[in-house]
Symmetry: D3
Amino acid sequence: MLKNDTWRADILVEALPYIKKFWNKIVIIKYGGSAMEDKQLEQQILKDIILLRYIGMKPIIVHGGGPEISQEMLKQNKTPQFINGLRVTDRDTMDITEMVLTGKINTRLVAEINLCILEDQGNGIKGIGLSGEDAQLLVVKKYAHIDLGYVGEIIKINTEILTLLIEKDYIPVIATIGVDASGDRFNINADTVAGELAKVLKAEKLIFLSDVDGILRELGNVETLISSINVEEAKKLLESGQVQKGMIPKVESALGALEGGVKKVHFLNGKQVHSILLEIFTDKGIGTEFVSVDN
Amino acid sequence: MLKNDTWRADILVEALPYIKKFWNKIVIIKYGGSAMEDKQLEQQILKDIILLRYIGMKPIIVHGGGPEISQEMLKQNKTPQFINGLRVTDRDTMDITEMVLTGKINTRLVAEINLCILEDQGNGIKGIGLSGEDAQLLVVKKYAHIDLGYVGEIIKINTEILTLLIEKDYIPVIATIGVDASGDRFNINADTVAGELAKVLKAEKLIFLSDVDGILRELGNVETLISSINVEEAKKLLESGQVQKGMIPKVESALGALEGGVKKVHFLNGKQVHSILLEIFTDKGIGTEFVSVDN
Amino acid sequence: MLKNDTWRADILVEALPYIKKFWNKIVIIKYGGSAMEDKQLEQQILKDIILLRYIGMKPIIVHGGGPEISQEMLKQNKTPQFINGLRVTDRDTMDITEMVLTGKINTRLVAEINLCILEDQGNGIKGIGLSGEDAQLLVVKKYAHIDLGYVGEIIKINTEILTLLIEKDYIPVIATIGVDASGDRFNINADTVAGELAKVLKAEKLIFLSDVDGILRELGNVETLISSINVEEAKKLLESGQVQKGMIPKVESALGALEGGVKKVHFLNGKQVHSILLEIFTDKGIGTEFVSVDN
Amino acid sequence: MLKNDTWRADILVEALPYIKKFWNKIVIIKYGGSAMEDKQLEQQILKDIILLRYIGMKPIIVHGGGPEISQEMLKQNKTPQFINGLRVTDRDTMDITEMVLTGKINTRLVAEINLCILEDQGNGIKGIGLSGEDAQLLVVKKYAHIDLGYVGEIIKINTEILTLLIEKDYIPVIATIGVDASGDRFNINADTVAGELAKVLKAEKLIFLSDVDGILRELGNVETLISSINVEEAKKLLESGQVQKGMIPKVESALGALEGGVKKVHFLNGKQVHSILLEIFTDKGIGTEFVSVDN
Amino acid sequence: MLKNDTWRADILVEALPYIKKFWNKIVIIKYGGSAMEDKQLEQQILKDIILLRYIGMKPIIVHGGGPEISQEMLKQNKTPQFINGLRVTDRDTMDITEMVLTGKINTRLVAEINLCILEDQGNGIKGIGLSGEDAQLLVVKKYAHIDLGYVGEIIKINTEILTLLIEKDYIPVIATIGVDASGDRFNINADTVAGELAKVLKAEKLIFLSDVDGILRELGNVETLISSINVEEAKKLLESGQVQKGMIPKVESALGALEGGVKKVHFLNGKQVHSILLEIFTDKGIGTEFVSVDN
Amino acid sequence: MLKNDTWRADILVEALPYIKKFWNKIVIIKYGGSAMEDKQLEQQILKDIILLRYIGMKPIIVHGGGPEISQEMLKQNKTPQFINGLRVTDRDTMDITEMVLTGKINTRLVAEINLCILEDQGNGIKGIGLSGEDAQLLVVKKYAHIDLGYVGEIIKINTEILTLLIEKDYIPVIATIGVDASGDRFNINADTVAGELAKVLKAEKLIFLSDVDGILRELGNVETLISSINVEEAKKLLESGQVQKGMIPKVESALGALEGGVKKVHFLNGKQVHSILLEIFTDKGIGTEFVSVDN
């Protein structure tokens, strides 16, 4: 018997209080396109999430896929265009978006989850992919503020399919395509979807996994990473203009989720190995944590 | 009150014996790419299937999508290649196949089903898309007979997700992508998938919906359409070489399904309006019907 | 393939919006004695109701049987007597009433429903007869306003047996005999029973199937058939004295049901072929429809 | 505290071994027409049966009603006729039979059961009447041996309605009317029905409650009452011709039930006060007990 | 047939109204140490309780064991000490208390219950012992008023284990050991536990089975036994100082239970044969009954 | 973020294949008296077992308690006596045995399990103590080979209470007291109980946790510890006389369990920190592993 092994066992046992705390609780994980660029990293992140499920948590993955969409567009000689950080989505772009999100990234993530299960003679837990038109999961209308083409905003989430699947030991993986009242599919901001889902499912945690370390107090100064921030402070920060562009919808989703009853929201850097586990299994956590004032 | 309306009611009542006969029974419908070319027809076919579900049957849709795959390949300057009617599927072709089947056709079919539900204040029944990697539905290995690249043959079907969804009033729509033991996705013949599913789910009926009227006794002579044929006769016909090329896997799947306990297999022309309903709600049926010898 | 058959299929598909609308909803059908006189018509009406059940609705039949009761009395040399349209019910009359309603009409209706099921290899749905003493379904006290003998008014409905049977795919057929606190059986007005049941079961629809076409605005003038009337108007009509005698309890039940939350109440002529289907499967409906003011 | 009361308590406790022995077991009680003649006795018998249910047994009552049928026939100037103890049943006789069994005796028994429940603020257990056409409980064909008109023999018993009701704390009361494949109702021998039900439901006990004390070894000699007899002996007795006429179908049913797995069959005199309880709650029992040889 | 037997049956039937009244209702029985002294009596009391369960009630036994604890202490040369009737409980005393209550009395009671079941081929109902640390049933903190060592007062009752066991036909037998937030076990007053349990489980009845006949209006004068007393009167009696010492916590628990919604509380003398049955199966009852004012 | 933390996460993820492998599987852990001597060690062992439960396994603890029994006997001036390693158990010894096992060790283990849950805001999982008389879990007869007094051998295990509790997220802790047909309690060898339970529950693993490192090939030579041994070899070893005395019943139980379908049996040294985890979460394992020949 090696000392080394005993130490491993110690670490497992030290995880017990955290395992208990989150046992049977729903955790929404927004897995961003930028944290998907490295295949090995992606597999590691999925393994971390599978681990959460096996030790009793109920994770739901909401994924984006911006870089891969742009890449596919370029392959087809189309130039990605953005207004205020939102993709201008004409008919062709929408087709590509849906094919990439639902038919490429979502299937890859689900296959990887299930592969991981397969290789270890796993029994019982399996991943399943969903897109907004499945069981009318994400009902949207056209985004009203500016004309971006097929960009939608959520008007209804039908959670019963998620509840059913979670109870039966599935890990849902959601492509953030919405469907409108005439059956047309729309691109939706994945951060918003994650926030709304966390709210309607009364999730314990909402985790944004992107490629930055968290929220900075001073734009561009990585020394000013905020460990913990409450709703009040976060609102002020938003108003101050110090929140980075792409972070704005994330922070807004975070605030909405907290106000909707979610216990905590985290911003983690997916590129940091095991960031989800580090957040869940250590007291100090990593990245930036959002808490409601009265937490 | 118009005579016309009374007549409609008569027709509904005349459907009762057929409704009863198939109440609570599973019906696998293979919906082929060639029968998808007309959007209006597609909507009509889906409406027919939704009707089946509402009147108590348990339909499962298995779809192909060959023409749309080829079209997308051409758009990306790739030339579709076939050996013995099977698509040669290199890495890029497989990506396109998966994106088109799962991310375009499957989502469109599901959205159309749910749209149809939405517009009439439907309650309770909803479509949901599945692909072979979802819950490890379709596990495959590389096709062994000739090297076609990413073409797979089924080694295991995990039906529990289907059983769960059917019980809870969902209509599953299946894209015939399989997943192998290393997580790679493969193209699989949709006719074979439909046949295997019918067998493992002990379906009442298996329906092949393509763009021909049925099986011809003499190749090319539409006058020789076979109404009903039993397993013995079908085997002889196969041996005789009179079965059209693309029909061979369908006929083989049909035979396998019948031998596996499925009650009847039908070949219908999806281009004929309401062909599924005509088959189910009339005594003489349409197209070609396969029955086991002792039926 | 005949044109004719395609047309039939069209009609089935046109029924889909109505099927969806009423899927899983409870419909109480009061089937009156006068609409039972023709055996063939009776079978047709029952077939229509079975059809409703097979396509997902939850029908409950409440039947009367006045004419057959009178006929049996005459056979036994007793003269039927009525005060204000209510049958004077002495001990012998009550015995005859119960035997005819529960032991003749109810059993015949149930046998016909199940026969219909049998002959088509139906699976799963079956009729079952209930009378007020079964599971204390209809608890009554002696009618207090005038002494009519064994005539009761409802004081309690125990719906749990109905809920159990409906959930398990049975069609309940109810003979409107009530039981009082000392175990005596009483005759109860079937229209009232239907209205009360619709109320306590929160039915979607209550249908009175008698032998007139609906409510007339002017007594005796069939040209003045009312298509649709709201609660306010119906109350005025009642006060105006224009409602025909036998119709008074029906109209009062209708008003009570609407005020108790039932969505719509219909008066249909059972002698009109398929009147129930015509009401449910056409937009304009037939007969007279009662709606609450705010419908 | 009175001695008397303590003694009562003693008796309750002495019943415990018998209560345990039959807890959760099905007991079929054939309650014959001749034991129904005294209303007070009838109420007492029903109370005994209700008691069985409350202390954990699952009783099902199968009733006859010969005398009341004959009485009603005479009232309508029809003369009852019998061949070999079986009632000749023309159309009118059948109508009267059904009305009396289902619409008079069955309803009276059910009302009395529920009355008894009502008066003591009972909660949970309720009687419910069933006739053979309900849920196709008793499917028959015309009796083939001699033409007796509407006399049927059982070809199928659909027990699922009984199983459902028993599980949900109902006491089923069955009128032995059967229904044939064309929906016609037939009179069936109630002893046979009781025996067949005991067999298909794997009852613990089958009790024939009539107006004689049991089986006599010598026809007419009440001194020769048999306490206990096994299958072998009973067969010999039948062959010897010593079994009284009306007893023959009962004895045959008893033998059939024992051979079909029922543990014990009893012949009790319903006119003896508490005969069912005396049989169940004493070791020596009363009446005649049939046991299988290897019991 | 003996008259005697018929009389027994009469008595069973006379119990029916009481059986119905308490069918499916929870009854908490505090079985005190002083009523355990006679082994034969103990067995009789348990048999009475088993009888209650078999005839449909849901009894839960809460037992004390003071005399046996003291006896064990003396055996180990420790002198029992009491302050205000509460046992001074040092570490060793606590160990002895727990061993005697959980490891001797509780196991004996459970074994006797199951023995009784065994010997009569009982099926389905079984006793099961629980102590406060099981499933955190009884969470306590150290008694605050005076320092008595390991004496606790209840701060939380986790009833889900009781609900689970009762539903599945078990009779729970509870040793009144509590557990505090650091895992230490404490002695708790069994009367208080019984009262609190009755309250949280919304019991129909709470029975205190001790060795006195009930509450006396004048301390020491057995002629002044109170048959029935309401909350108001009981409070006055408590204030008057006429309640005997050991009775004070019982009377306080009784009042708490009644105010918490329990229907009736009874004080019975366990030494009187069948006292529980006499209370439940006679109208006048025995001992002292506490009712809420508005009962 | 510290390296240290990332490393911890790595270790959690490395545990995943083992977690999956044993997810939802039953593991019987015999926790011997000798491994209970150190309170801190005991708490650590229980924490390890709780961890197993939280990560999806279904552990059942079977405990002994020999040393504490002997200690209590000495305290009461009784000298422990053994024949062939089995305790001579007179009436007093049996009382002490039961009090110590059920009323001291079992309660302590359960309290410690639940304490551990409490302190970390655990939700859902709780320990519950059982002894052989609970729900007739362990039915025994007197040990027949030599007269040892109250020493029993198992004749029946009633597992339904275990199945119920396991399904509902409880960890059962079993004191190995048996009950015979007359309600007397008996001491039973805990190793045998563990083996029999593993067999009837079709456990995945049976773990003997004692104070030695495993089975030695040469008696007394710790260098000859056997890592893995199959049934054949183990039988030979037993015959060779090289198995240490106290180990004989363990090895026999192990063989019985393997022959009864248990996958693997392990002998671990409870004094080695985290021995259970080391066995489960490493490939090479520790201690001695018994496998069936064809494993």
